[in-house]
């Protein structure tokens, strides 16, 4: 481990070498030995800190022994494990501060001067939110067949977009179905909000555009992603489920009178009116 002196210290040009080793008599206790210049250079000091000796012991500094309390003063910052080590010989006007940061569990050493870091404030940085990164990851790793296409009204806004599904088989073949995706900042804790933007005739999509897909509600988990949702949506057009419907009339038609149902699907896709409901023309133009 290497300890570099603070740059403004002129009389302390050389690096410190610090060894931290276990006390073989009390294995929960660590002995720290600090030397100058090299691993066998001049010993600057040592001290012991450990679970069983939580009260500071003594420190040997340039041949003289002192209670640690005379040399070590703790900084009452929230860093409880940061030690500020005052080296006596430099006098009070020129303190060198050596910090022993033990918060990570072992011997990370850094050196810090008392000078306030003026750059700190300048380093203010906007940060990408977890939701944003996750959406970037989900979107750039989408693995969609040619039957699905995303569209971003504002390419700079990754949180709001549409998905167009153009089934190439099944009863909904020939249609282009557009779903809106709205992702909030609590993604992926919250699922994306997905709605069908058109009025369509489908047992699992109601006339308001609500979609009955388990992973959009009760079965959503943060490990799922946008790809899973999109694949799930496409599946609804290949295998509509009449058993757990949202549009009950369509579902009844589908299970009781499949011919009529297929006819209704075709006619609704052309934008016809069925039983008083005006459907959207979704045919691919």
């Amino acid at each position: 481990m290497l300890l570099a002196p603070p740059p403004e210290t002129t009389d302390c040009q050389k690096p410190y070498y610090i060894a931290v080793s276990l006390n073989c008599f009390t294995p929960t206790s660590h002995i720290t030995i600090i030397r100058k210049n090299s691993w066998d250079g001049e010993m600057v000091g040592d001290f012991e800190i450990g679970a069983n000796s939580r009260n500071p012991g003594t420190l040997c500094l340039r041949g003289n022994e002192y209670p640690i309390s005379e040399l070590l003063t703790s900084e009452f910052k929230v860093f409880r494990t940061t030690w500020e080590w005052k080296v006596k010989s430099f006098g009070p006007d020129k303190p060198i501060m050596i910090f022993w940061d033990d918060y990570g569990g072992g011997g990370v050493l850094s050196i810090w001067s008392m000078k306030k870091n003026e750059d700190a404030a300048a380093k203010k940085k906007p940060k990408t939110s977890a939701a944003q990164i996750r959406v970037q990851k989900d979107l750039t790793e989408l693995d969609l067949p040619s039957t699905m296409q995303t569209h971003f009204p504002d390419p700079a806004d990754l949180l709001n977009f549409t998905l167009t599904i153009t089934p190439d088989e099944g009863m909904y073949k020939g249609g282009a179905f557009v779903f809106s995706f709205a992702i909030n900042t609590n993604y992926p804790h919250d699922p994306p909000k997905v709605k069908c933007t058109q009025t369509i005739y489908h047992p699992n999509v109601d006339l308001e555009g609500n979609v009955c897909l388990n992973i959009l509600r009760e079965d959503w988990k943060p490990v799922l992603n946008l790809n899973s949702v999109m694949v799930g949506l496409q599946y609804l057009f290949l295998e509509p489920n009449a058993d757990d419907p949202l549009n009950k009339e369509a579902a009844i038609e589908m299970s009781k009178n499949r011919e009529q149902f297929l006819a209704n699907v075709k006619s609704s896709m052309r934008g016809h009116n069925i039983k008083g409901v005006q459907y959207a023309n979704v045919l691919v133009r």
Binding site: N23, C24, D46, G57, A251, S255
Partner: protein
């Protein structure tokens, strides 16, 4: 549909005030709280912290018994004293004034007499209270008080709270505590293996084969299982699946009943299939209650709980040898009609069984109580307590606690020793006092030095490394030489605001459980260490 009728349905302001707690203990628990009377001895920071958490939810009455006047120290660490302006005034009166302000529905009273005087002159003083709480009470008075309150099981429950710095513990002294609604997290049996006639008939009458496919995916799993089990039994001499191979075959049979893959209700049935071969009987902890001494000496004046327990015992002697059915049906994949129908079958049967149980009652019991008893029969509890101090008088029991839960025992021993030694403890006096509680030759737990160290500072020995010798430090003075033994006070008397608040919350939770007779209170010491932030029991 008009909004005006709906607004009328909005609950009254008291219900709205208590909304967040009524969702836990309901109106019955609330009314128990409102009918309770508490006595709190001393208006320490810990005492007022406890009371705050009981005044807010609305206990009926509290009295603070404290002859002391407020010192700056009190004013500094007790939120229910008003800084400078309280200093010199009666501590009980100031605390009562500021606590009562929290809830108009609660009556508070300050009593500036001394406990000793009351014990000497008016032992009947305590009878009107439901529960008495004592914090850091001097051991001799505590002994007198606990003995007095133990004399008769109609006298109030006593909660003893002790704390010092980051450490604390409490104990509830009660004779007997019965709980109907323990808010048990285990669900009552649906009795699929012992289907009642209406459920059996309904399940076996369904024609799965010709059913509409949509209806087929909405048959509740309970019905599927009852049916599958009936079919199985018919083919297996009336026996349920027994071997691993049977169980596998049974699950396959369920899968075979599906008309298409991924029928969720059949998947649920398969997952719940164990219910068919796990025989529903009387749970062992409920059966154990039937041995309760109260049942053998049952008289018309016995508490209704035990009359109900006796009726329950007699109920379980009859076939099907189970607890009465409850009408709570979990949610399951089903359409509305089949689910509601099933729910009705359970409800009707539950009413019938409740009537049978009532027939076994030898005294009249309030219907609401019977309902609650039957509904919660699978979670009934009877707790029997011990007098405060029983553990410390039993050195063998203490020693076994030291062996089994040494960290908690260490804190208990340290606090017990501190109470015995008084406010100027040293390592030696505390060690001697703790050692005296244990059988001769028993070692104090390893963590004892840490615990007493919170009250006294152990000195540190260091073997120096001036020479290249290794150094060793030891908190154990005696190992080297007794003449180094030396200590200073850390916090033998500190009533820290955070510790007070922590204990205040824990004790109030237990008091609420005692008073409402809901949830399960602790029946041992609860020990708290706020250095490493953990709680334990001994």
């Amino acid at each position: 549909m008009s909004t005006s009728t709906a607004v009328e349905a909005q609950p009254d302001s008291k219900t709205r005030r208590y909304d967040r707690q009524l969702r836990l203990w309901a109106a019955s628990g609330q009314s128990a709280l409102e009918n309770s009377r508490l006595l709190v001895i001393s208006a320490s920071a810990t005492s007022t912290s406890i009371l705050k958490n009981l005044v807010l939810p609305g206990v009926g009455h509290f009295t603070i018994l404290d002859p002391a006047t407020v010192t700056p120290r009190d004013a500094g660490n007790n939120f229910f004293l008003e800084g400078e302006s309280s200093i010199g005034k009666s501590r009980a009166q100031e605390a009562v004034r500021l606590l009562a302000e929290l809830n108009d529905g609660v009556e508070g009273k300050a009593d500036t007499s001394s406990l000793e005087h009351i014990l000497d002159t008016n032992p009947a003083y305590f009878a009107s209270y439901t529960l008495v709480i004592a914090h850091n009470l001097e051991p001799k008075l505590l002994e007198r008080l606990s003995t007095l309150l133990w004399a008769d099981d109609t006298l109030p429950t006593l909660v003893v709270v002790n704390s010092a710095g980051f450490l604390g513990e409490f104990y509830i002294q009660f004779h007997e505590h019965t709980i109907i609604d323990s808010h048990s997290e285990t669900a009552p049996s649906l009795r699929i293996d012992k289907a009642f006639p209406a459920l059996y008939d309904y399940s076996t009458s369904l024609d799965f084969a010709s059913m509409d496919p949509t209806d087929h995916t909405h048959v509740p799993y309970v019905v599927i299982l009852v049916r599958a089990l009936a079919d199985w039994k018919a083919a297996h001499d009336g026996k349920p699946p027994q071997t691993a191979a049977d169980k596998k075959a049974f699950k396959e049979a369920i899968r075979g009943m599906q008309v298409k893959s991924d029928e969720e209700n059949f998947e649920e049935a398969e997952a719940q299939a164990y219910r068919c071969w796990t025989e529903t009987g009387v749970p062992s902890d409920i059966a154990a209650l039937f041995q309760d001494p109260q049942l053998s000496t049952l008289s018309p004046t016995s508490p209704p709980f035990f009359h109900l327990l006796e009726a329950l015992r007699r109920f379980t002697l009859e076939p099907p040898h189970t607890l009465p059915l409850t009408s709570t049906l979990p949610d399951m994949k089903a359409n509305t009609a089949s689910y509601i129908h099933l729910q009705k079958l359970y409800k009707t049967r539950a009413e019938e069984e409740k009537a049978i149980l009532k027939g076994f009652l030898s005294v009249p019991v309030d219907d609401v109580l019977v309902d609650s008893f039957v509904k919660n029969a699978h979670g009934l509890k009877v707790l029997r307590g011990k007098k405060y101090g029983t553990l410390n008088a039993d050195s063998a029991a203490l020693a076994s606690n030291v062996a089994s839960s040494s960290k908690a025992a260490a804190i208990h021993l340290a606090l017990s020793a501190l109470a015995a030694v008084g406010p100027q403890p040293t390592i030696e006096t505390l060690t001697v006092a703790a050692q005296a509680l244990l059988p001769p030759g028993t070692e104090l737990p390893e963590d004892f030095s840490d615990a007493v160290g919170e009250m006294c500072v152990p000195f540190v020995l260091c073997f120096s490394s001036v020479s290249p010798m290794p150094r060793v430090s030891s908190p154990n003075a005696d190992a080297v030489s007794p003449r180094f033994a030396h200590c200073s006070a850390r916090s033998p008397t500190a009533d820290l605001p955070n510790t007070a608040a922590f204990l205040g919350g824990l004790v109030a939770q237990e008091v609420i459980k005692m008073i409402t007779k809901q949830y399960v209170p602790i029946s041992s010491y609860c020990v708290v260490d706020l250095v490493e932030t953990w709680t334990g029991t001994i």
